[in-house]
């Protein structure tokens, strides 16, 4: 064989190898986390781990429920803010806005998506935390240090809006223009067309984009960690501190080697996070896939 043939063989195999590597990576991430959390799962019952609220690694208590509820609070709050806003914005800029506004939003979206999590955290500490502790919480009759699940929710909402918005703009663009024309020619106003035709067509896509937004918000670590307070308790209202799963993993990496089962517990927390995110991602992708087919 000549040299060209050898290079062909090399390039083909390199590509195949890289593709195989990437294809088994999701499995190996899940598998790696599972193996590392095995010691804990052998020792304790799974149901006990996810339903107990006792967290005291030194005494061998690894109840995860307060971290799971912390995650749910922060993610839920951020979605309540991000989903309606991004829907309104995506309708406005695909249907009404002038080209310059569209370009500006795209630029802002790209930059917002690129800004690191830690900078959002700094912003949250500087702006959101004092605002909540001094203005919002007293106004609603609560007392709060500002380091609470609501701060985490607000910071996450700002972080996840670019992602949700990006997907929703795509979805509104793929709706055939004829549908709009038919509705308009029947005498519907522009808004009625949007309400009865576009939103109905895009319904599943909107749900999917919010699903992807959830999984993005679930895993954001550093920004949330900086503003959410990190107290292992079940938050009773949005002005109380919480302790989401990613923050738990990130906060305890220093001491995890010295206490038995601590490392396993953190990897188990990672495994829960991984499974939830894969679930949401899969459902959303399935919906989007279905949408493209029909």
């Amino acid at each position: 064989m000549n040299r060209g043939k050898w290079f062909d063989l090399l390039s083909d195999n390199w590509m195949l190898l890289a593709t195989l590597l990437m294809s088994i990576l999701p499995l190996s991430v899940g598998f790696g986390l599972l193996i590392e959390s095995m010691p804990l799962l052998r020792q304790y019952h799974l149901r006990h781990l996810v339903s107990s609220s006792a967290w005291s690694p030194a005494e061998g208590k690894f109840g995860m429920i307060s971290f799971i509820t912390g995650t749910l609070w922060v993610t839920g709050l951020s979605l309540c803010m991000a989903a309606p806003v991004s829907l309104l914005v995506s309708i406005y800029i695909t249907q009404y806005a002038k080209p310059w506004l569209m370009r500006t939003i795209h630029l802002v979206m790209d930059i917002l998506a690129g800004i690191p999590s830690v900078v959002y955290g700094v912003w949250g500490v500087l702006v959101i935390v004092p605002w909540i502790s001094q203005k919002l919480a007293p106004a609603l009759g609560y007392s709060s240090s500002g380091y609470c699940v609501l701060s985490g929710g607000i910071v996450l909402a700002v972080m996840s809006i670019p992602y949700i918005l990006h997907l929703q703009i795509e979805i509104f663009r793929t709706i055939p223009i004829e549908l709009k024309e038919i509705s308009l020619s029947l005498g519907a106003t522009y808004w009625e067309t949007i309400k009865y035709v576009l939103l109905k067509q895009a319904r599943r896509g909107i749900i999917a984009s919010v699903g992807l937004g959830i999984s993005k918000a679930l895993g954001e670590t550093i920004a949330v960690l900086m503003v959410v307070g990190n107290v292992p308790q079940i938050p009773e209202n949005m002005f109380q501190a919480g302790y989401p799963l990613p923050a738990l993993i990130a906060n305890n990496y220093g001491e995890m080697m010295s206490i038995p089962h601590y490392l396993s517990a953190l990897m188990f927390a990672g495994l829960i996070l991984f499974l939830i995110i894969c679930l949401f991602n899969s459902i959303s992708h399935w919906i989007i896939h279905k949408m493209h087919q029909t």
Partner: protein, 292 residues
């Protein structure tokens, strides 16, 4: 369609409704732009006063964490090492995968859909889990927290991002290009590296920059794997500082001077990210004119 009203009074009502909704939507849209501007203003207002030449030209001195002399040069250099290394390693995997999907597997729709689905799952995995997975790898391979471990973790994290962006650029290549190349007697290697990669060059550069930006700003994935040190790493097995972690650690300090340095560091990081965003814009608008 039966909900659409016909009488003139309800017509007026629906026009009013449209006006109100339009107003709410406009407010939402402009508020996003305002939040963005406000964020940049706050970071600049807090960061610029604390910024000094000493900050970006010196490594931490003896009393650095008590507000005395020194800077964060170690973190800046560390971040550059980590993200350049991570991006390079990632390109070694992401370029062949994207090419393989678009040349070898072009007509195997089921397989490509499956692989793209797996890549999307990878794209959605948060960086802290890559950090945890990197830690598991470190245990398995008996590695210490080091520059090398950080580079590997970062590469794993940004590879799906780069593949996805590059893949999109490759999908933009007109259909029939591949058949034309085969008809001219080119081998698949030649098609990949002499035709397709050139056609998708602007997309590749953009993808690389996006991955680089993500790598330089990510703190969670390197938290476990790089360690943290006050010195500039000399080889791949040294622990390394990074800019996001420097911000994070300094911000949790009780001493005001140290916290101000965190703001300055956040400002530096924001400027770097803004410059990368600007570069991406330039690349997409400038380079795309060389395409067929």
């Amino acid at each position: 369609m039966k909900n659409i009203p016909h009488s003139s009074r309800s017509r007026r009502k629906s026009i009013l409704e449209e006006k109100i909704m339009k107003c709410i939507m406009a407010i939402a849209t402009y508020s996003i732009i305002l939040v963005f501007i406000y964020m940049i203003l706050v970071i600049s207002r807090e960061g610029i006063p604390a910024l000094s030449w000493e900050m970006i030209s010196e490594i931490p001195g003896g009393g650095f964490y008590f507000g005395k002399e020194g800077g964060i040069l170690n973190a800046i250099i560390g971040s550059v090492y980590l993200s350049v290394g991570g991006t390079f390693l990632s390109l070694l995997i992401s370029i062949p995968v994207a090419l393989y999907l678009n040349i070898h597997l072009l007509h195997y729709n089921r397989i490509t859909a499956g692989i793209r689905y797996l890549l999307d799952i990878l794209w959605g995995i948060p960086s802290i889990l890559y950090g945890a997975f990197g830690f598991v790898l470190m245990i398995v391979f008996h590695l210490q927290a080091s520059l090398l471990a950080g580079i590997i973790t970062l590469a794993l994290m940004i590879t799906p991002i780069i593949i996805r962006a590059f893949d999109e650029a490759l999908q933009g290549i007109p259909e029939g290009m591949l058949e034309a190349c085969y008809a001219m007697g080119l081998t698949r290697r030649q098609i990949a590296f002499q035709v397709f990669i050139r056609q998708a060059m602007p997309g590749l550069i953009t993808a690389t920059l996006v991955g680089f930006g993500r790598a330089i700003g990510d703190a969670a994935s390197v938290l476990f794997t790089t360690g943290y040190t006050d010195y500039i790493p000399k080889n791949l097995y040294d622990p390394t500082a990074s800019l996001p972690l420097a911000i994070f650690f300094q911000l949790s300090s009780p001493i005001p001077e140290v916290r101000e340095r965190a703001y300055a560091a956040a400002f530096i990081l924001t400027i770097i990210i803004l410059m990368i965003s600007l570069l991406i814009r330039l690349c997409t608008s400038r380079l795309s004119k060389y395409q067929i």
